[in-house]
């Protein structure tokens, strides 16, 4: 009797075990199916990234651009804690981790049009923000926890492969620092430094290294007026080299009111140093009377020795009135200077312009409204056309530039969130 009971229990246990195995196997198979299903990604289309009023991100994929005058509404986009893209390559966007944690993520658009994380590179320092892709096999980033070193990784595997050691490079004041942006030229990397917490120096210092050997090559600098800190904003992607291989390092001048103008500096093809004789200052060229904020922003080369950027062109009447009331610039108090700066930073006083990098001329683009100097959005290209963001109190829109005529026409509106960036995933950077 006992034996029969034991056998019966054993049989039941076996049945349960078999059932569990079968269930697990089926479940595992289903997981594999799902995994296989998400490997297909979109290779064309556009990702639009917006900021909500709560400073979180809403991000949407669209397969096609709307017809002229149409609208892309991103209010129903996917929500992330943040979404700051620094590079687009092989149909993937590289961003700081979208959940607010330390590190970088590779984001792709799956077959359903949803933006999904395909890979990650955790970092130690949670302010690490700059990652740039050179080619399909090579990308770089700096974990700001590690001074003077840049990590090289494979964008396909998101695995770090080696380190570029630039600790030999000089740092003004020998303060702790970070790399604010990376420029590639051949196997060389040029990296602009700032203080670790964003401090600006009186010069723009650029370290140079060899990506393949990981060795330090040298450094160069753009010298200012000796006292004004020079503000620096990194460009999006690799849009700073012209057809001849000249590399352009663009700064914003001093945005604190000292009047130091923004400058396009050049490292000529074959040279490793900033050309001391090349001092292209578009804001001063556009308006020599632009005293307070002679700034430029959103620089991007467009071929044929030209580039586009936003140039602050005029001083709003409100600011002029403050100067006149004070009896001249020399009499302005600190409060008045701050007030003027606030007006300049928010007024629609800047123009999209075409820069001739060789002739050092500035040509305002017609057909596109004036914008604030720190206009949101990123430029992108599609079907050979260049699209420029225009964010004003009246509209948030993209304008399509006709380079030959120097004019732009309105392409489409963006609604649903504050525009932060728009990326063509068919293009590289």
């Amino acid at each position: 009797m006992n034996a029969i009971n034991k056998k019966s229990k054993w049989t039941k246990l076996n049945l349960v075990a078999v059932a569990l195995v079968v269930t697990c196997t089926v479940a595992c198979d289903k997981d594999n199916d799902t995994d296989n299903g998400t490997t297909e990604i979109k290779t064309s289309g556009f990702v639009i990234n917006g900021l909500t009023s709560s400073e979180t991100a809403t991000v949407k994929y669209v397969a096609e651009l709307p017809a002229d005058g149409g609208t892309i509404n991103i209010a129903d986009g996917q929500d992330f804690v943040r979404f700051w893209a620094t590079s687009v390559y092989d149909h993937a966007l590289y961003i700081q981790s979208p959940d607010g944690t330390a590190g970088f993520s590779k984001m792709v658009v799956n077959a359903d049009g949803r933006i999904v994380e395909e890979g990650i590179i955790p970092t130690i320092n949670n302010t690490s923000a700059q990652l740039m892709i050179k080619d399909s096999e090579t990308g770089v980033f700096q974990d700001r926890a590690v001074q003077g070193k840049i990590s090289v990784f494979n964008p396909k595997t998101m695995q770090v492969t080696r380190t570029i050691d630039l600790t030999e490079g000089p740092v003004p004041g020998n303060i702790v620092h970070r790399y604010q942006s990376f420029y590639f030229r051949g196997n060389d990397i040029f990296a602009v430094i700032r203080g670790l917490t964003g401090e600006d120096f009186n010069t723009i210092v650029v370290h140079q290294g060899d990506i393949n050997t990981g060795k330090y090559i040298g450094w160069t600098e753009r010298i200012g007026d000796g006292s004004s800190p020079i503000d620096y904003y990194e460009p999006f992607g690799q849009q700073s080299i012209d057809d001849q291989g000249n590399l352009y390092i663009v700064d914003a001048g001093n945005i604190g009111g000292t009047g130091l103008p923004a400058r396009v500096s050049k490292i000529a093809a074959g040279s490793n140093s900033i050309d001391a004789d090349y001092k292209f200052e578009p804001a001063k060229i556009l308006n020599a009377q632009n005293v307070f904020l002679p700034c430029i922003y959103k620089f991007a080369t467009i071929g044929n020795g030209k580039a586009v950027c936003v140039v602050n062109s005029e001083t709003p009447q409100e600011a002029i009135a403050i100067v006149q009331a004070a009896g001249g610039i020399q009499n302005l108090t600190r409060e008045q200077i701050n007030e003027i700066f606030y007006i300049l930073a928010t007024a629609a006083s800047a123009q999209w312009c075409i820069l001739d990098l060789n002739a050092q001329t500035v040509t305002p683009i017609g057909g596109i409204p004036k914008v604030g100097i720190f206009v949101n959005g990123t430029t992108f290209t599609h079907n050979g056309n260049i699209y420029l963001p225009a964010v004003t109190t009246q509209e948030t829109a993209y304008y399509r530039l006709n380079v030959s005529s120097g004019t732009a026409v309105k392409a489409f509106n963006i609604t649903g969130a504050t525009l932060n960036g728009m990326y063509n995933i068919a293009n590289n950077n």
Partner: protein, 799 residues
Amino acid sequence: MKRLLLSLLLIPITLFGQDTFTIKGKISSQYANPLALISVKLEASGKSTQTNDNGVFEFKNVKAGTYVVSISGVGFKSTKSTINVDDNLDLTFILQESSQAIQDVNIIGKSKAMQLSEQAININALDVSKVVDLSLGAEEVLRASTGVVVRQSGGLGSEPNINLNGLTGEAVRIYYDGIPMEVYGNALQLNTVPVDALQRIDVYKGVMPIDVGTDALGGGINLIPVEPTESQLRASYSVGSFNTHRLTLNGNKNWNNKTSLSISSFYNYSDNDYTMRNIRNNVERFDENGDFLNIEREYIDARRFHDQHASSFVEAALSLKNRGWADRLVLSFSHSYRFDEIQQGKFIDGIAVGEAESKVNGLTQRVDYRKKFMDDKLSLRYFGILSNAFSKVNDSTKFVYNWTGAPFKRYNDTGSEIFSSPTARGAHDLGTSHRLIVNYQMSPNTAVKFSDFFSYTRIKGEDPFGIRLSIDGQQLDPNTIPSKISRNIVGVELEQLFFEKKLTAIGFYKNYKYAGESIDLRTSSATILPIRKINDTQNGYGAALKYSILPSLFVRGSVEKAVRIPTEPEIFGDFLVILPNYELKPETSDNINAGISFSDHLGEEAYLSIKIDGFLRNQKNLIRIERVGIENARYINQAEVDGKGVEFSSRLTILKSLDISANLTYQSNKIAKVGKAADNASIGRQVPNIPNFYYNLGVDYKIEDIFRSQNSLRLFWTYFYTDRFSINEVGNLDTASPEYIVPVQHLHNAGATYSLVNRGLSFSFNVQNALNAEIFDNFRIPRPGFNCAFKINYTLSKK
């Protein structure tokens, strides 16, 4: 014979000297809280009265003889005592708490908390006497209230976040005995104050009365500490999960009815080493040669390892009462201390914080003076506080830790774990606050009140690792330049009763004025010290009405334009990543509150209380943080938020000892206006990170005279439900990213308390998260799973 003669001679003298006597008495709860509106009957004399706010009653002209004193009040066990009156008497009674309905009561006694809850202004006064035996902090009591969400960023002592009727952050002010808690220099915090140290928690929704509030936008929370009135010693100790210990000691010594000395103290300690499930963990990978390869992410169940908390508070007070020049003068001195290890930043990341910590020592002196004049028609109260807080934040290590608690082999050259650069900031906060309240009862139906609140704070410090400004060629630590801010809030209030006191009408006006100065961090290469000054004046006003339809039923409503002054960090930045914004304006809110309340006995053994309240808000110039590029942020005025909500609260007592309660809150806080046209899509969306719907159910059963007479056993169970919500601003929860949604939460707490009243002892055991559910704190930080605590209370009273 001589003795008989002597007696006969003395009798007429005695009778002529005093043939009637005065009987005074004081009634307190078992936790030494004075009980107001308790019915006291001197049977056979035809005399009856009620206790006043201090729990005191008095019978005059009582003839000699033997009487039975009958005492009764809602929520307390009735008692009868026989007294022999042959002289003036000064009696003391202690009532035991009971959920038993009162029988044969002519006048219903009400606790102070119940009285407050029936004011024209919506005050939810939470009587902590029912939970004082449990090992809980003040935040746990608030969680069971309607309209209040309390969240933390970790275990005991971690940073609390209060959401009151949809308002959060600085919009909700926390007070300790009427003093803004920040005046204590951050050494005191809502979730470090144990329930034993409190007699009540007053939650103000909508209108803050002029004599309590400062610049709270839509409400505030006032922790009312225990005020022992008898010579008494109370002590408690609890030990719980995660090596948590709480100790309280409160004592009071009355030398006579004019002088007493009291001490109030508590100590908390916890390792807070609870396990979090499925946490991201970063791991270093090295090749066979030991060269660094990569950081990889894994998911583990991680035990918190650097979240130790210790805090203490001790206050000694000398009370002088019943003097010609003062009804009451309290002089007190206190010391507070807090130490916190820091375990993570705002979110749970793959990297843990392993060394950063903060501590603060606070020293305060307080004076509280009260005096009534003109037959008690005019009352005056002044209280002032001077505090010195010495704080230190240390975040200056190059080690990096993951969630296993082990340091990485590689160093963090940044030299800090939380802040963007190393800091070892030491600061000295000097604060002083003063409030003067004058109340004049012009007639039985008319009262006018005046209040003036002034506060001043000065912060000065140093940071050996912090940023430096170049001033006239010299490198200056900006922390060494003091930041100062002062506020003055003056208010007047008129209260008028109509229709035989059935209708109460209140109107009030407040004026807010503030001024501050700090070094301007935006300045570079200045030649003179760049000091920025700000100041502003705002006005607020409002009204409240209450109408008693029946003795057991009333309706009430209030309207207010409230103002919140920006805080110092919001204006001047934090010297690290928050940039200053000198143009920041105060937030304002138009608040409307309305409600109906019913409470009555249902037969002899049942008692029912139901409250339904609703609120509407329009919050303008909402101060919120705006990202400036990837690196920095600053506070700006921007959105306008419309809030509305309804709250339901009920309590049913049946079968003498069974208490059932339910509290439900539904609220909606939607963005109504935005600063930029591009943000228009946000209009109509819910403000993120605030739950819309939550409720709790509680059952409390008390068994009297168990095992021995007067001993009791109390069993309770509470269930909390919180509906899902998103920590991001989203248009639709159904299509929002699931990883940022806080899912539906079910929390069960339970416990038991055994009280030996005659011995002044009680033992309690309580379990939190009994079903080990997944519960989240602010920004989805996991809360502990199943945890428990055991507590022993001892009270020694001199009767």
